[in-house]
Amino acid sequence: MMTIVFSLFLLTMLVIVAVAILRTDNLFTAVMLSGIFSLIMAANFFVLDAADVALTEAVIGAGISTVLFLGALALTAEHDHSPPVGSWVPLVTSSALGGVIIFATLQAPRLGDPNAIVHKHVAPWYLENTPLLIDVPNVVTAVLASFRGYDTLGEVFVVFTACIGVMSLLGRVRPRGELIEEGEFDKRTDNLRHHLIPRVVGKMLVPFIVLFGLYVQFHGDFGPGGGFQAGALVAAGIILYSLVEGGARGRELVPEWFSGMLVALGAFTYAAVGVACMVMGGRFLDYSVLSHDPVHGQHLGILLIEAGVGMTVAGVMITIFHAFSRRGIR
């Protein structure tokens, strides 16, 4: 009963926050609200028994995404100067979309119904066979890293592409002498060093965040976690340090060549594991051939590719953050 009330409350809050984002003209408010939106979404995922996803949405949606938006805001504008909506097209299109979806989902299976088709076909096989074939307690990690490992390979390369995209767009430091409008960076400082409390508390938290990130990386087989969450957490720790101490010291701590190398190395590791499996006689990404018996091979394969994923995600998030933070410096 309490779950239902809580769920209804969270869902309603989602809608309210989304409407608030739509209506506000101040972009800073909108970005902060979108961070809150992601956090409420993460709580909702947790209520729906999706622990891994809740962790990922919290770190990436509420954490990294908010920081990236703020970084972009500092370089672009503070207010939304949109003119009042001239045509009826957006309203009609959105309403039609919503109407179609509501119409369709009236026939959807009841929430939580154990006899729904989705729970009867592929999912029971995963739940039964993971202990036998892969022997990893977290079934989500088993499916992500092994059964559907090809998808995860694709995902790592999507993140890699985003990194090379941001680097190719924002790679060069801006030539000196160019005017920055609306006076952001010369009026603000890019660190919090003269604010004592954030500085002290922030610096104390950074090692714990990084440690927790490493824990999540290696414990992802046994509990919620894995490469994506871990990489994002470690990156969040480093970003917090950069926010508190200033971008220059952040770049001293984790130089850009290092994070760039991590990015490429992680993606390369994943692809290399796949090729190694082929060389050793199995299919692409068939970890069973990596070791003396299939289950150990699976463990080894999952360990290696999760490491690759963690390296790439951490490297990408840090690189993108540094690209944004150093762009505005005169």
Binding site: M41, T56, L68, P83, G99, V139, P224
Partner: protein, 119 residues
């Protein structure tokens, strides 16, 4: 429970509408991107709503506990991928927005269109 299920899908539909409306009706680039990320997040809600099983728990097999009912792991895997794809797109789009601001001096699409119309 049926009410909760319908409400889940209803909220999904509403968030989709709000996200798409924000993308279409607002000319500020950063605002549109926030709307785009709301639009993508709504889809996550759709998939994760499918994974719940009555009386189930997160699909982590505990040793020694028999007859556990688990939630469906597959939508969770799909959405983990989709979240990461979403942030990648957002990061790239924000980098493009920063470059647009540097090249055009503004991130309002109507002003950019005016500037581009002049030969």
């Amino acid at each position: 429970m049926a009410l909760l299920g319908l409400y889940n899908y209803f909220v999904f539909a509403v968030l989709l509408m709000i996200g798409l409306y924000c993308v279409l009706a607002r000319t500020n680039i950063v605002k549109s991107l926030i709307g785009l990320s709301i639009f993508q997040s709504a889809v996550f809600l759709l998939y994760i709503s499918m994974d719940k099983v009555d009386g189930g728990t997160a699909p982590i097999i505990q040793e020694g506990v028999e007859n556990q009912v688990f939630a469906n792991p597959l939508p969770q895997v799909l959405i983990l991928t989709a979240i990461v794809v979403g942030i990648s797109t957002t990061a790239l789009a924000l980098a493009v927005a920063v470059r647009i601001k540097e090249a055009y001096g503004t991130i309002e699409e109507d002003k950019i269109q005016e500037m581009d119309r002049e030969p």
